[in-house]
């Protein structure tokens, strides 16, 4: 297990370095002067010269990249010209909001999806299975923004029991936080509940046909014991992969939802920065997204090793 993890971490570092190269090159892919790309066009010659020096533009590109990388690693992510503040501070305020919503959405959709999937798998062909799988398919194809708008219309505008927009972290005001989180969370989760349910169902159906399930049944175990003690662990593996991949969608999913509910998170920040060519912010967003995804992949790999002993030996 130790060697297995060591290898995975090594691979993750390589991937992150590759991403950092592309993120860095972004500065030079934007048409025009890299200094203007970083600071915007509205600067004096003096500011230009300082920036020229600070960006080491007199040095070869490999060296410049290393300077940038070292700065990034040490937390010096540059300044956003649009918001006129350090990128680190900007993201420090935005990232927790997106992560808070995203992680809750993943937890909720994974747990509910697994339970519904197991129910479907063990009631194959029965009415319950048909109803649940129809709902799951419906959920999986319904766009999140549409759900968000629908939820807002019913619960905020018509019934008036939930706020239409805004977001409060639980550390500030728990009750208000829950009220503002409910609608975005539902909109974010329904799709992945549908996906997880379908994956878990097909996993269960696949495992239930295996020889070792027949062995378990031939021992005289109850069907409940067969399902949870023998089938579940084998069937849940594909769901772990799916959950790992949904981390990538945290930022992507947040983009529309944060716009609709006017939540100041990473998603809205990234869109605005891309549109206004705020390169420093975009670079940091790319890197942070890559780091989150890489870490979640690492966790998935480790979880795989824990669940399936065959993976540990390679």
């Amino acid at each position: 297990m130790g060697r297995y993890m060591f290898k995975r971490i090594g691979q993750a570092v390589v991937v992150l370095l590759l991403v950092s190269i592309f993120a860095y090159l972004l500065t030079y892919m934007i048409p025009g002067d890299p200094v203007y790309a970083m600071l915007g066009g509205d600067i004096t010659q003096e500011q230009y010269d300082i920036a020229y020096e600070a960006m080491h533009l007199d040095q070869p590109i490999v060296l410049r990249y290393f300077h940038w990388l070292m700065n990034f690693v040490t937390g010096n992510w540059g300044d956003s010209y649009r918001y006129s503040q350090p990128v680190a501070a900007l993201l420090g305020a935005r990232l927790p909001v997106t992560m808070y919503l995203g992680i809750w959405s993943i937890i909720i959709s994974t747990i509910i999806g697994i339970i519904l999937g197991v129910l479907c798998g063990t009631h194959r062909g029965k009415l319950l299975d048909s109803i649940l799988i129809t709902c799951a398919n419906f959920g999986a194809v319904m766009p999140a923004f549409w759900l968000a708008v629908l939820g807002m219309y019913i619960f905020a505008l018509k019934l008036g029991i939930l706020p239409t927009h805004g977001f409060v972290l639980p550390t500030e005001n728990l009750a208000e936080s829950v009220r503002t989180t409910v609608l975005p969370l539902i909109a974010l989760s329904v799709g992945s509940i549908g996906g997880t349910t379908r994956q878990m169902r097909s996993g269960m159906l696949d495992v239930i046909r295996q020889d070792y399930i027949r062995t378990a049944r031939s021992k005289g175990l109850t069907e409940r014991a067969v399902t949870w003690k023998h089938a579940f662990r084998n069937a849940v593996l594909p769901v772990v992969t799916l959950t790992g991949m949904s981390f990538r969608n945290i930022v992507a999913g947040a983009i529309s939802i944060e716009q609709i509910f006017a939540i100041g998170g990473m998603g809205s920040l990234m869109i605005n920065s891309i549109l206004s060519k705020d390169v420093a912010v975009v670079q940091a967003c790319i890197m942070l997204t890559a780091i989150v995804v890489t870490i979640s992949n690492l966790v998935v790999d480790i979880a795989y090793g824990v669940i399936d002993p065959r993976i540990r030996v390679e």
Binding site: G10, T215, R217, G220, L221, K229, N234, P309, V313
Partner: protein
């Protein structure tokens, strides 16, 4: 008469596309404690379904138990629901099961200790500590070394044979009165098969357990069974004592089955296959199900025969009498002798063929060494000859075939075909010669393209190698080839899945013949087929050889089959040929300890012969190629191994009869 466990008039149907099909039709049987009872039959005969249905282990739906009683100590189990507490206490508690596939029958994500204790805790109400003690004891009994420390291991850390031992431990964990073993050794090698079956029957005798053994292998039946039920198309067609049935088989199917299997202890004889196709589930005819394949069928066979008493406990379901068949069958079995005299020149010659795989490690997959799969084998085949290459899984026999065909990287040595060295020839130049060496594959289900019709499957080599000049000749040649292998040319527009296994193998043979090759390599060509069909294919290969003067390299794990079909036989172990000689000579005067052990492990389908044979068991398992012994590849398991054997690799030493043996001890007489 009350029996301990008795099933009567069990009828099981399955829901299918075309209505319900009968899988088990009014089957009755019984077992007593301490008895070994065998159910024998081909695939689709309903032998497994009968047992699963009796334990209510079949998925309902699509299966449905229409009628029948299952009595355990006089109590009818059919009154309980499949999931009821009583039924669960009996299933796994009173009656344990062992399944065919040890590789997939254990849960890969659970420690084997847990899988064994689970049953003991459930049925014997033991605590975890006591259950673990019991598991350790059971593992010791089934021959797992160092059981305390292996309790926490997972199934993938054990070999196939070891997993089947664990399966036995699981079945034994609840102290059952009956064990149902469904083809427990079909997926295992012969020497492992012998170990497992000895173990299983020993344990059953010791604990007074009734053992129900389901198998298609008549040898196993002859060696272990006390009573036999022969099943065909969902019916028991014959039942009785093992001795009686083998000595005086009544039912034409039983008689056919016994004659269709090649036997190690008999000289050259032609197999007599059962004509026609095995029954396909769902297709039933009125009357006797065997009538359409039966050479003795009469008008009366249109009504269903009842299972009638013949004598003692011997029952048979046939309208005619066994004695009638004795008169009908010609007494003189065709004696055919395979002599190596009169064979042509050497056609294929292999010298020091080696195959190695690179071992790669680390982040960058650097090559750190070589893994030797084939450790330098040499042999030659003359025109018109069949050389059998026999050995257990992993011995390198298939690798040898692929090496000869230049289909794998890392092959060194020399392969001479028709006087030309082919291994060193670049693929581009070799391609026109490729037609001279063809292959028949093991799995007739996956080795034929499912989307191409039979005409094109068979005819493809004709086009690739420009062997026909026009459409007309192409069609003619394909028809000719199909007729040659016993297929009706009018079927040539069909695709592979419309044929049965045996027919598909015929297509494979026709395809190999199309290129008019010098040598045909047959890689386990019959191991995926049913017993009655195996004989058909063996006979076809023999007939074609005679007619067309073909040369075969016949690769198989079944010594009896290899002996039957080959002029000469080479025995392989761990990438080496350990013994090679004329086939009769090899079986009569085997010298290498491994060959002897292999011969010993194969049960002969005749209980009288089996009774007199010594069942000496080869210890241990085939080592991994990763841990190849330094000296003789067999040294670790050989009872006669000396220091020399462990240090130096022996080479084949030939005597004047051309009988070669690679063993240091041979000159000093190893055993008798």
């Amino acid at each position: 008469m009350d029996h301990y466990y008795e099933v009567s008039d069990l009828r099981v149907t399955f829901a299918g596309d075309s209505g319900r099909s009968v899988a088990v039709e009014d089957v009755s049987f019984y077992v007593e404690p301490g008895e070994v009872v065998c159910f024998v039959g081909e695939s689709g005969s309903g032998k497994s379904v009968t047992q699963l249905a009796a334990l209510q282990l079949l998925p309902v739906p699509p299966a449905s138990i229409e009628s029948g009683k299952v009595l355990l100590s006089g109590e009818n189990l059919m009154q309980y629901k499949a999931q009821s507490a009583t039924m669960r206490a009996i299933r796994g508690g009173e009656i344990g099961m062992i399944f065919q596939e040890p590789m997939t029958s254990l849960n890969p994500t659970k420690q084997i200790g847990l899988q064994i204790t689970e049953s003991a805790m459930l049925h014997l109400k033991l605590g975890r500590r006591e259950a673990e003690e019991k598991a350790v004891d059971l593992l010791r009994q089934v021959g797992i070394p160092d059981p305390e420390s292996r309790l926490r291991d997972y199934p993938h850390q054990f070999s196939g044979g070891m997993r089947q031992r664990i399966m036995i431990a699981i079945a034994m964990a609840s102290d059952p009165k009956i064990i149902v073993a469904d083809e427990p050794t079909t997926a295992l090698d012969v020497t492992t098969q012998a170990q497992i079956l000895e173990l299983l029957t020993d344990l059953a005798k010791k604990n007074n357990i009734a053992l129900i053994l389901i198998t298609h292998n008549l040898g196993i039946v002859a060696r272990y069974a006390e009573r036999i039920y022969v099943m065909y198309a969902g019916n028991v067609v014959e039942s009785g004592g093992s001795m009686d049935i083998f000595a005086r088989p009544h039912h034409p199917y039983t008689r056919g089955l016994i004659k269709a299997v090649p036997r190690l202890d008999l000289g050259e004889h032609r197999l007599i296959p059962i004509d026609g196709l095995p029954p396909s589930p769902g297709v039933r005819q009125p009357g006797c199900q065997f009538a359409n394949r039966c050479p003795y069928a009469v008008d009366a066979c249109r009504s269903k025969p009842s299972l009638d008493l013949i004598e003692g406990i011997h029952y048979c379901a046939c309208h005619r009498k066994g004695e009638d068949f004795d008169l009908l069958e010609s007494k003189d079995t065709e004696e055919s002798h395979k002599t190596t005299e009169g064979l042509g020149e050497v056609l294929l010659s292999v010298k020091d063929l080696k195959v190695t795989y690179p071992i790669r490690k680390g982040l960058l997959n650097r090559k750190v060494g070589d893994l030797t799969i084939l450790d330098g084998i040499s042999f030659h085949i003359r025109r018109g000859e069949t050389l059998g290459l026999v050995g257990e899984s992993g011995c390198g026999k298939t690798t040898a075939a692929r090496g000869i065909l230049k289909l794998i990287e890392g092959t060194t040595g020399e392969v001479w075909l028709n006087g030309k060295e082919i291994l060193s020839v670049p693929e581009k130049e070799f391609r026109p010669t490729r037609k001279n060496i063809q292959m028949i594959f093991q799995d007739p289900f996956s080795s034929l393209d499912p989307r191409v019709n039979v005409e094109d499957l068979v005819g493809e080599p004709l086009i690739i190698h420009h062997l026909v000049s026009g459409k007309e000749e192409y069609h003619q040649r394909v028809d000719e080839l199909l007729r040659l292998v016993g297929l009706d040319p009018s079927l040539k527009d069909r695709v592979a899945h419309e044929f049965s296994g045996g027919q598909r193998q015929r297509v494979g043979i026709a395809r190999a013949l199309a290129a008019d090759p010098d040598v045909i390599i047959c890689d386990e060509p019959i191991s995926a087929l049913d017993v009655s069909i195996q004989a058909q294919i063996i006979n076809l290969l023999e007939d074609l050889q005679e007619k067309m003067h073909l040369t075969y390299l016949f690769i198989a794990h079944d010594l009896a089959v290899v002996k039957h079909i080959s002029h000469r036989v080479a025995v392989m172990y761990l990438g080496n040929i350990v013994e090679i000689s004329d086939s009769e000579e090899l079986y009569a005067h085997a010298r290498h300890p491994y060959t002897k052990a292999l011969l010993n492990a194969i049960p002969i389908p005749d209980p009288r012969v089996e009774l007199e044979r010594e069942h000496e068991m080869l210890r241990g398992e085939v080592p991994s190629v990763l841990m190849r012994p330094k000296g003789c590849c067999f040294a670790e398991r050989c009872p006669f191994a000396s220091e020399q054997c462990r240090q130096q690799k022996p080479v084949l030493q030939f005597d004047e009869k051309g009988h070669g043996t690679a063993c240091w001890q041979i000159r000093q007489e190893c055993g008798k």
